[in-house]
């Protein structure tokens, strides 16, 4: 690739665990090629840069922004909007930015409930004065500001326009590198696309597959799975059937069911709905009571199982706020 004119690269970290920031380093020595091709203007985990210096940059002066993390606070939303304005290409990097991921599981709750739990109810909390985060606090030295904590976690594209998505929790280094190469060489798919495969994890999975008839769902601790047979056929809820390929079937290969971090396949509106209709289709019973039992016993946490990564992006998006303790402004 030519380094005639160096591009500008920003990485940013919103509501996420930070793994995505580190994942970029997973490309190993190829990071040097990246550094050769780009000036890195922002990368909280690795490069010292200031928000105000970004604010001062001309609009669209950043060539590529890899934005990881969901949008949970006003500050994250501000950064998303800022970087969108400054960047030519905005990539939702990793599952949190793409579809909400683990942070968005909090969408079964709201700010009030979360604060109540975090600042009062947990056994390890000692908060005699009932202190809670405020957006403004007067102290001797003046006013302090904290970002507003929203009721709802949103995906990046529910906040700003996104050009490309790089799925995964975190994205695999090979896929990151493929994407960077594609961007550098200008061989990008149509805007709005997910950069990745169009089939699912099963395609890469080495296990043998047969027609499926499931009499009982098993939890991972209940069985030592046969090494060669499809995990789903052994009763483990393997989400590989619905999850976009890209990881190389890492988990199922070593006997652990896919949990769906690469998100839904191309064109799928709702990952959880796909998983549920697929599993419902292969439960081996015609008796409604038995089916009920198979589901109740085998899948005690349907949201955590089927929407672990995608609740914010799903058609459910969140639990209705009416059912929850109302609190101040909603997001």
């Amino acid at each position: 690739m030519s380094a005639a004119k160096k591009g500008k690269l920003a990485n940013y970290w919103a509501a996420s665990c930070g793994g995505c920031e580190i994942a970029v380093l997973g490309i190993n020595e190829k990071i040097l090629d990246v550094a050769e091709a780009f000036d890195i203007v922002l990368w909280p985990v690795a490069v010292d840069a200031k928000v105000h210096s970004i604010e001062k940059m001309a609009d669209k002066s950043i060539d590529l922004c890899l934005f990881n993390g969901a949008i949970r606070t006003s500050e994250q939303e501000y950064m998303a909007r800022l970087l969108r304005r400054k960047s030519k290409v905005m990539v939702a990097f990793g599952s949190c930015a793409h579809e909400g991921c683990i942070p968005a599981l909090a969408n079964v709750s709201n700010r009030e409930e979360i604060f109540q739990t975090a600042y009062h109810d947990t056994p390890s909390t000692d908060n005699p004065n009932g202190v809670r985060p405020q957006t403004e606090t007067e102290v001797e030295e003046g006013k302090l500001y904290l970002p507003l904590f929203y009721d709802t976690v949103k995906t990046l594209d529910q906040t700003v326009e996104v050009d490309y998505y790089l799925p995964g929790c975190p994205p695999e280094p090979e896929r990151i590198w493929d994407a960077i190469v594609a961007i550098l060489e200008g061989k990008l798919p149509a805007p709005g696309s997910v950069i990745g495969a169009t089939t699912t994890v099963c395609d890469d999975c080495p296990r043998t597959r047969e027609e499926k008839k499931i009499k009982e769902f098993k939890r991972t601790w209940e069985i030592i799975p046969d090494p060669d047979i499809c995990l789903l056929e052994q009763g483990l809820v393997c989400c590989g059937i619905a999850t976009r390929a890209g990881c190389g079937a890492l988990c199922p290969t070593v006997g652990s069911p896919c949990i769906g971090c690469y998100g839904p396949n191309e064109g799928v509106e709702d990952f959880g709905a796909r998983m549920m209709t697929a599993l419902a289709s292969v439960i081996d019973s015609d008796d409604p009571e038995e089916i009920e039992r198979i589901i109740q016993e085998g899948i005690p946490d349907p949201i955590g199982t089927f929407y672990r990564f995608s609740l914010a992006a799903s058609q459910l998006r969140r639990k209705t706020l009416e059912g929850l303790d109302p609190s101040g402004a909603s997001a």
Binding site: T199, T200, E210, E211, N265, E266, G267, E269, R274
Partner: protein
């Protein structure tokens, strides 16, 4: 380029216009739905003038899509598709929405009905814009036909087709064809002898060059699709070599083992271990019943083998399989009789002289167990009084809610036979006497004249516990005479229970095997109860006779002939169009997970081992969508039911809620106000 949609709102006389403000709906569509170029309401869209309206608009206005809001697509989708095709528009770019069945017939409030009609029209416009041009494919029709069940219905169907020159495979489970009719003595209302009218047809079947009769056989497996079914038939071992057997019957004579015949003789008589159900059986080769045969039980005997003049007995015979290809199937599997033991208060099985209708038929039959004499269970005493109980297991919410339709007439027939053959008094206990076919009411009048008594009341109990003088040693029928308004106890010598007709015990399995459905009660479901009574939702599979619902012999024969005529129509056409609204698996998306492989009710899905992907055989697919919903990778798309079309339709339905036109759910959220 945006589409030009024509919208047509049908009044259906006053069927729709009486409830829905059709003009308002047409105006709404024309003014408020995007891309609607023409919007009209018309008295009868299905009339030739209505169709011409569409054709003219397509030609003059250059419509690219058509929506007809009228009755159910079941009725007129073809009509309007054809109109579009006539005007050069791909027929699949036409969509019908039902504002009669789903709106005017089910909503009374005019304003609400009109609003719903608008929503449905908006939905139809939104979805039709995304319709794709589809082309039906054509497949050839194999001229062979499979008829399952050799009762009078199947016999009629087979003969009609064979006489027309087409090969028929007639598969009958029992050793002989004939079905229930072969068990009867006389048939109502004309009282002609059942055997006299049935056996000529049976022997016609047996000798017809175009009929391959496979008796004592069952369909093991069926695959394929209309015009092109592959069928595997299991011929159960008879232990008699059909080539060698001449049907002389010496083996039956010599067999030392006698058992109760529960099937043909309804438990009233005996047969040998090697037997044919009745003397005129077709085919007339006997079969060995291995469960009772001494040789199969104990390894010794072989009397039949010793005496058979042609060495036809073969104790080593095995079930054999025959594979055939047919274009169409007629299911004429008939019925079972309700088990009268399920109504314990009538005492069947406990009180000796309570008989079922079928037992009585056998008793009346000259070649039956009593040689036609009507006698009590002791085999000698003639009854002096007989009670006939209607609706045993029919019109009874504890058993079957439906009317078995033939029992009243059979009861009258029995009354006549009793009075003809004995001096007994006959009393019928009925809820209603139903005699609605040709010559039936006349038969009822004849029995009234002949002196049969009628008590209008459902029998409450049949008991042998005498309470009053004259009741000792009798069966007492206790019933409320609803015409007199009082309880009655009628002592009789014999009681006949008119048991209900029920779906065959295995009707559901047979339905599943052939890919057709059963009603709640278990009768095979026809395509349309009035207008398409012998076709089913599965092309190429027809139903006829009592298997489709209770009926008498004339109606069964008519259906058998009707099904044969439908099949002939298919055969003479030579090819059949296959609906293009089918599922397609996109190879590049399919991961080969095999979730879908077991799901298709029509066995349309196969797995391509070489490519490691699944595949839908379009000729078999009925577009039901089961697999489309199940595929976790969304590798399967259903034509006319892809996500975009469905969401557009939902968006249209909700036009009111989500703001008029182009709404395309699911919308990504609007940006929140900056905090």
């Amino acid at each position: 380029m945006s589409e030009k949609v024509g919208v047509y709102i049908c009044h259906c006389g006053s069927n729709i216009a009486g409830v829905v403000d059709v003009e308002d709906v047409a105006k709404f569509a024309g003014e408020q739905i995007e891309n609607v170029a023409v919007s009209r309401d018309y008295k009868f869209m299905c009339s030739s003038l209505g169709q011409e309206l569409i054709e003219e608009d397509i030609r003059k206005e250059g419509l690219t899509r058509v929506v007809v809001a009228a009755c159910s697509p079941h009725l007129h989708e073809k009509t309007f598709r054809r109109a579009c095709a006539n005007a050069g528009l791909n027929p699949y770019l036409c969509h019908m929405t039902s504002i009669r069945e789903q709106v005017s017939w089910v909503i009374e409030d005019k304003a609400v009905a009109t609003e719903k009609a608008k929503a449905m029209v908006a939905a139809a416009v939104k979805r039709v814009e995304l319709h794709e041009e589809l082309e039906p494919s054509e497949v050839p029709v194999n001229p062979n036909t499979l008829v399952v069940g050799g009762g009078i219905t199947g016999i009629q169907a087979a003969i009609e087709l064979a006489d027309a020159g087409y090969p028929v495979y007639l598969v009958e489970r029992e050793p002989s064809i004939g079905g229930h009719m072969a068990q009867f003595d006389k048939t109502f209302p004309t009282l002609d002898c059942a055997a006299c009218i049935l056996t000529p047809k049976m022997s016609d079947v047996g000798s017809h060059p175009n009929i391959h009769l496979l008796s004592y056989s069952e369909v093991e497996d069926i695959s394929g699709y209309v015009g092109n079914f592959h069928v595997r038939i299991r011929k159960k071992a008879r232990y008699v070599d059909e080539e060698a057997c001449t049907g002389c019957g010496i083996c039956i004579e010599k067999c030392p083992k006698k058992v109760v015949d529960d099937v043909f003789e309804a438990g009233m008589g005996y047969r040998k271990s090697i037997y044919r159900p009745f003397p005129q059986a077709v085919p007339n080769w006997p079969v060995i019943d291995t469960e009772s045969c001494t040789y199969f039980e104990r390894g010794k005997c072989k009397a039949c083998e010793i005496f058979c003049p042609t060495e036809a007995i073969d104790f080593e015979q095995q079930d054999s399989y025959i594979d055939i290809d047919v274009g169409n199937v007629i299911l004429a599997t008939g019925y079972d009789l309700f088990d009268a033991r399920k109504v314990p208060q009538y005492g069947y099985g406990r009180l000796a002289n309570v008989f079922t209708s079928l037992e009585f038929e056998r008793m009346c039959n000259a070649s039956g167990p009593t040689e036609g004499k009507i006698v009590l269970r002791d085999g000698i005493t003639e009854p002096k009084s007989v009670a006939i109980i209607h609706c045993v297991g029919s019109r009874d919410e504890n058993h079957n809610p439906y009317c078995s339709s033939i029992c009243c007439m059979s009861a009258l027939k029995f009354g006549h036979l009793v009075m003809e053959k004995t001096d007994a008094e006959v009393t019928s206990f009925y809820i209603d006497v139903r005699t609605s076919q040709k010559g039936y009411e006349e038969f009822y009048n004849r029995l009234l004249e002949e002196g049969m008594h009628f008590v209008r009341g459902k029998a409450a109990e049949i008991t042998d516990a005498a309470r009053q003088p004259g009741e000792e040693g009798k069966l007492i029928v206790q019933a409320e005479d609803t015409l007199l308004g009082k309880q009655r106890r009628v002592p009789v010598d014999m009681v006949i229970l008119m048991s209900a007709l029920e779906p065959k015990a295995d009707a559901k399995d047979v339905g599943l095997q052939f890919g057709i459905s059963c009603s709640m009660e278990g009768w095979f479901t026809e395509r349309h109860p009035k207008l398409d009574p012998v076709a089913t939702m599965t092309d190429g599979i027809f139903v006829a006779g009592v298997a489709q619902g209770p009926k008498d012999i004339p109606a069964s024969v008519a259906q058998g002939a009707a099904a044969a005529a439908r099949v002939q129509g298919m055969i003479t056409a030579g090819t059949v169009e296959i609906e293009p609204i089918v599922a397609t698996i996109h190879e590049e998306i399919c991961s080969g997970c095999k979730i879908c492989n077991n799901l298709c009710p029509f066995n349309a899905i196969e797995f391509l081992e070489d490519k490691e992907v699944s595949y839908v055989n379009a000729a078999l697919c009925k577009g039901c969508g089961t697999c489309v919903a199940a595929c976790p990778a969304q590798a399967i798309s259903g034509a006319h039911f892809n996500n975009d079309q469905i969401f557009a339709e939902i968006g249209g339905i909700l036009y009111d809620a989500i703001g008029g036109n182009g709404a395309k759910a699911p919308a990504k959220s609007k940006e929140p106000a900056p905090a």
